[in-house]
Structure formats: structure tokens, C-alpha cells
């Protein structure tokens, strides 16, 4: 069987799997960005309790393996009466896991904004909320986007794991085709290529575009 025959027969299945992978990626990306913003700010709170909650959350999700969290969300939560669909469980576990890493990036980004900016905002009598919203947040984007871009590529790779909790994504389809046809080189090779293409020609350019946009916003034309 030539490679073209293989593609002809299984290409559509793999593409359908790719669509699911992209869906998982987009959903968990949105979730992790929101979570990391919230917990990154909580981590810097002066309130001991809020800060404690954020620290426990971050240490917990960074300390355990993503696969364990996925299986926990899918197989163990039903014991407590919470039955999640495979897709939901996958997205939630990915979002929570990457949110923990993202929160640390956000925290570092906020701390990296020069002290003078805080003081100037204070001197101009901005309210704390306005200070964060109008002065600090716009400035953290150029700082946090490069590490966040790395993290997002990691997220794309991590979406492969949701196949193990029965989400029918690219990895799942590749495994399935492999067990039917036993053409391992073709199906896993194609899957690897598709992941590579998504990362190299879609995700990374998009994130790079965001970086340029953020840099322009604070008046840095070139990074």
C-alpha cells in the first residue's frame, strides 16, 4: 500500500480527528488564559487567605502529572457524583493544569513591570482597580506573551493526552487506524506531521502576531 493510498483511505478520518484536536486546543486555551489571569493576580494579593488558595492550587497542579489529573477528572470524579463528558473532562484538566503554569507567568509579568509605573499611577491618584486595568495590565502583555507562547505550544502537545480518556482526537484516530491496518509508520508519522504543521504554521505565527500587537500597543515597534 503506497502512502497515497493510505491517505486516500484514512485521510478524512485523520482530518476529523484534527478538527477535534483543534477544538480541544482552543477551548483549553481560553480556559487556561482566564484561570492564569485570575490566579496570577490572586497570588499577588495581600490577603493571606486568597494568596494561600492560589499557592495551593498552583503547587498542586504543577506538582502532579497531567495524565493523572486527566484520569482523575474522568474516572474518579464520577465517584463523587460528578460525571463529565470525555471532552469536558479533557478541557477542564488541561485548562486547570496549564492555568497553574500560566499563573506563575502572569505573576512574574506583573512583578516585572517597573516599580515607577506603580508609583506614578499612585501619584496620579488612580484607584487600585484603574491602576491594574489601565497601567499595569497593558504593560504585562509584551512581557508575558513570549513565555505564554511556549506554554501554548506545550498545550498543543498536551492535547494528545485527551485521547487516553477516549476523546476522539487526532491521536485517538491514529491509534485506531494503527490497530486496524498495522501501518504504524504511516499513521503515527502522519499524526506527527499534522501536529508539527499546526504548531509551526498556525499556532506559532498566531502567537507571534499577538506578541507584535502587544508590543505595538505599548509603543515598542520592534521586539
Amino acid at each position: 500500500m503506497t502512502y497515497f493510498e493510505f491517505l486516500n483511505e484514512h485521510g478524512v478520518t485523520l482530518l476529523l480527528g484534527t478538527v477535534t484536536t483543534v477544538k480541544v486546543l482552543v477551548c483549553s486555551m481560553i480556559l487556561y488564559v482566564i484561570i492564569s489571569m485570575i490566579f496570577g493576580l490572586m497570588r499577588l494579593s495581600k490577603n493571606r487567605v486568597i494568596q494561600g488558595i492560589a499557592t495551593v492550587y498552583i503547587e498542586f497542579f504543577r506538582g502532579t502529572s497531567l495524565l493523572v489529573q486527566l484520569f482523575w477528572a474522568y474516572y474518579v470524579l464520577p465517584f463523587f457524583g460528578i460525571s463529565l463528558e470525555a471532552f469536558t473532562a479533557g478541557v477542564v484538566a488541561l485548562g486547570l493544569n496549564f492555568g497553574a503554569y500560566g499563573a506563575e507567568i502572569v505573576r512574574a509579568g506583573i512583578l516585572a513591570v517597573p516599580r515607577g509605573q506603580w508609583e506614578a499611577a499612585h501619584a496620579l491618584n488612580f484607584s487600585p482597580a484603574k491602576r491594574i486595568k489601565r497601567i499595569i495590565i497593558p504593560q504585562i502583555f509584551p512581557i508575558i506573551l513570549p513565555p505564554a507562547a511556549n506554554l501554548t505550544v506545550e498545550l498543543l502537545k498536551a492535547t494528545a493526552l485527551v485521547a487516553l480518556v477516549t476523546v476522539v482526537d487526532l491521536t485517538f484516530e491514529a491509534k485506531q487506524i494503527n490497530s486496524i491496518t498495522w501501518l504504524s509508520a504511516q499513521c503515527f508519522g502522519t499524526a506527527l506531521l499534522i501536529y508539527y504543521i499546526i504548531a509551526r504554521f498556525a499556532l506559532v505565527p498566531f502567537l507571534r502576531w499577538l506578541e507584535i500587537l502587544a508590543a505595538r500597543k505599548v509603543g515598542k515597534e520592534r521586539i
Binding site: F60, R62, S65, V68, V76, F188, G189
Partner: protein, 223 residues
Amino acid sequence: MGWRWDFTFEILPQMAIATLNTILAAGVGYAIALVVGLFFLLGQKTPFKIVNWINREIVEFIRSTPLLIQLFFVYFVLPQFGITLSAWVCGMITIGLHFGTYLSEVYRGALEGVPKSQWEACRALNFSTIYTYRRIVLPQAFPIAIPGMGNYLVGIFKDTPLLSTIGVAELFHAATAVGGYNYRYLEPYTLVGIIFLTLSIPAAMWVRKLENDVNKAQGKIKK
């Protein structure tokens, strides 16, 4: 269905033995990755443009595709070419290659972190390249590399559960087996999470301390 302590204690010895396997897998994988990283670094530093380019593409490819599919690829495709390796060996090779690319970036960053003037000073003092590396550059690059190297040790440790998908009998594999046999996943998976936490948090703290110690020994922090 609540938590059952008798079941927990029943499976604990089995899990403890599997934990040793996990630690062994992480250790061996890390050792391979450290060496592989050196080779990728070498590929990057050779004066041949074409080698640099191929090296970069390979690194880029490995870094932007999921470890899970790489595992499947190595495990299922190599036998088609007549190379039959055990799951253990396949897992170690794949982890070594995957994280080797990351470590090569850590090494590169560390070497570039040494100021150029150091090189110029050595040139002025007529030191040989080897002597410069051994006595001047590497001792200064090492502390820069430590945080990255430590983080990937913890990273490899947290990615070892993926090995269970190709049948390496590590902690997660044991938990799945025990859970399937008794049809109770609550305790095994929760135990896995707890074991991971109790191992990776101290490891991360140790890395942080090491980083501090090395910095202090280099006189970078005055305390």
C-alpha cells in the same frame, strides 16, 4: 462509595514498588537526555551551516510534536524495520530524545549567558579554546543552566506516566492495573497523585535551593 482505607493499605506496597520503577525511569531518561542534549548542542555549534540547519529542524520537529505519539512511533514503527526493543528501552530512548532537545536549548542559553568579554579576555591571555571552556566559560555557564536542568528533571518525572501507554510497569500503569482488577479507581489514582506531589514538590524546592546555593557560591547574591 467513599474512600476505603483497607483497600488503600492493601494496594500501598504494590504502589511503592511501582514508584521505584517510576523514579528509575525518570533517572535513566534524564541521564540519556543530558547526553543527547550535548549532541544537539554540538550540532548547533559546528561551523557547517547545513548541519546547523538540519539540527535546528530536527530539534524544532521533536519539540513541537507530542511525546505520546513519539512514544507510539518508536514503539510500533521500529519493529517494522526489524528492530524489536522492549517497552522500557523504547520509552527511555524517546524520553531521552524529546527532553534532549529541551536540554540542548538550556545548554545553549547558558553558554550565551556568559558575557562575550570573557571570551575576549581569554583570547587576549592566549588561552586555548579547550582551556577557555574548561576553566572560564563552563564554570560560569553551569549555574545559569542549573534551574533549566532541574526543571526538566521534574518535567521528565511528571511525564513518566505516559510510559504506561506502551506498557512500562511504572506507577501509573500499576494504578490502572490495580484499579481495573478491583474496579475501584478512586484510591489508586488518588494515591498516584499524592505520591507525585510528595516527590515533585521537594524536588522542585531542592532545585530552587541548589540554584540559590550556586549563585551564592559564585558571589552573585550577597547574603
